[in-house]
Symmetry: C2
Subunit: 328 residues, 2 copies
């Protein structure tokens, strides 16, 4: 069976807690960013956090959950450990209708977790202990699976670990050779800053479809001008889908450029997963014959759902939300 | 330092997923009930459930979290295993401001989990694998801790395991001997049915304050008449606080009887924890000089908060909600 999208990413369980701006300041956390932390720091930060709730996360994994909820056929490549959090992650993937067959590591570091502090402004600040993700390697990339996907979707976060980077490159080569499209999300402006030169090279050489938010695309092209960044992205990719929070998104493909409004939301609770779900909508649209504008709208609807509750995966069936929106 | 309430209960992590009425029927689940399941059944049911989210639960533990959120000083006695779910449970208790010092079991069954299926009518159907809870025993009851609490709060669910029952009885005797009040929640009508005779004996001999919902109190007194059940409870206890869902609650103490309306709610999402949080409000009120009516209202406000979101613990600071309600 042909798949719509094959995602490769860090397999993570999110640990979400409300926090004040003062808490972020006290712990030296930059609001809105993703910071990699070691196990000791994870223990220390967790010990000082408030009561939390847990939910499967991981950027590309969230996107695949969104594709499934929209009615698509996604698969996922990522690595958990054979522990309780790994069981939770694996369950949630399969129960969401995502093909996920990478066996859990039998030992070694525990399943990754991301300590997410949600401030009253609904912004999320993430602290990731990568744990078992560091064991993701080229051998985990199933050639046949990658060939079956219309689009290969890669998260920039993988770039932080050398072995995962190898897996990433291997997957991109397989997909390109099979005539499949390669999509990348830049993930985080700090992640872009850490790897700017190699990301620029990667985008120019391997990437057909680029996802980024405004600060990430500006960081990639080292410019303060969003419009200038859009022009760079237009030149480097076949399609760039660039999000601007409440101001919606811009999709640019060659001479075509469309602006899409954000979908209305009654109350924003937690922005975790907004970009991931936007990508899900766009990827589903692109693999199901949508126009650029329609794909962007689908992304906006998916993102709007996920920011109205805690957690980075949809709680409502997105295919029904899209249908309701088309009828409205 | 004196404590307001010391709770004793099954230490459980909840695994919450949306489910249809058809799912309940297919799996032979009685809506609204709590069923004890073994590890094999837990695996089977989990495997067929949809994607879930995890949050610390356990009836008495939820109540202690409510007491803390109202500004009180609670402690908790319950048993987890030294695993990831046990770490989550312990973190959430301490981060909520609850004194919790029972060491995790070093081996044996894993931390208890409750598979909770939430139907579109916001009803919750619970399936509990007790795991490490079966190791809770009389030695876990810290005499001094129990004596420090103004009220000892026990959950009926403990009655399902002989060793936990011993712990329960020991705690009740210590509290009574120290002149403290002993409170019991009946927990579940099926639980009452399993242990009716011994619960009747327990209520008459050891219990000062009884919490139950309408179906539980009717089951205890084997009557179809709520009013008749109220009269029995009036005779057997110093105070009975009896909940009736959207119809509010009745508190009866000797010749005094007050009816309290349910607090208004915009949209009910998940009723898990409603009874637990009602009990928290009443217990806080009773240990802080409230009248019966005021304690009942505090319970209604706490219950209303917890049913507007997934999970059985408050997401907003209950003390602030109560203040806001008094000013309105």
């Amino acid at each position: 069976m042909e798949l719509d999208v094959v995602g490769v990413g860090n397999a993570i369980v999110d640990v979400l807690a409300a926090a004040s701006d003062e808490f972020l300041a006290q712990h030296g956390l930059a609001k809105g960013s993703m910071t990699l932390i070691d196990e000791g720091r994870a223990r220390e930060l967790y010990g000082s956090m408030g009561p939390a709730r847990e939910a499967s996360g991981g950027s590309a994994a969230n996107t695949m959950a969104g594709v499934a909820s929209l009615g698509g056929r996604p698969a996922y490549i990522g690595r958990v450990c054979n522990d309780q959090l790994g069981e939770i992650f694996s369950h949630d993937m399969r129960a969401s209708g995502i093909h996920f067959a990478v066996p859990p590591a039998a030992g070694g570091p525990s399943t990754a977790r991301c300590l997410i502090l949600v401030t009253p402004d609904a912004q999320r600040t993430m602290n990731t202990y990568l744990g078992a993700c560091v064991d993701l390697c080229a051998e985990d990339v199933d050639d046949d699976l990658v060939r079956r996907g219309q689009v290969l979707y890669l998260e920039g976060y993988l770039w932080d670990k050398p072995k995962a980077k190898d897996a990433f490159i291997k997957a991109a080569r397989i997909a390109s050779a099979a005539g499949r499209r390669v999509a990348l999300t830049l993930s985080d402006s700090f992640c872009v800053a850490r790897h700017r030169e190699s990301f620029l090279d990667l985008v120019a050489r391997h990437v057909d479809i680029l996802f980024a938010n405004e600060s990430e695309i500006k960081a990639l092209y080292a410019t303060d001008s969003f419009d200038e960044a859009v022009q760079h992205a237009r030149r480097d990719t076949k399609l760039a889908a660039l999000t601007r929070g409440a101001r919606g998104s811009v999709l640019v493909a060659g001479s075509e450029l469309v602006e899409v409004a954000a979908a209305p939301v009654s109350r924003v609770i937690d922005t975790t997963g907004a970009g991931d779900l936007y990508a899900a909508g766009v990827l589903f649209g692109l693999t199901h014959g949508d126009s650029l504008a329609a794909a962007g709208r689908r992304g906006s609807i998916a993102a709007a759902e996920v920011i109205t509750h805690y957690g980075a995966r949809p709680e409502q069936r997105l295919s029904e939300l899209v249908s309701a929106s088309l009828q409205a």
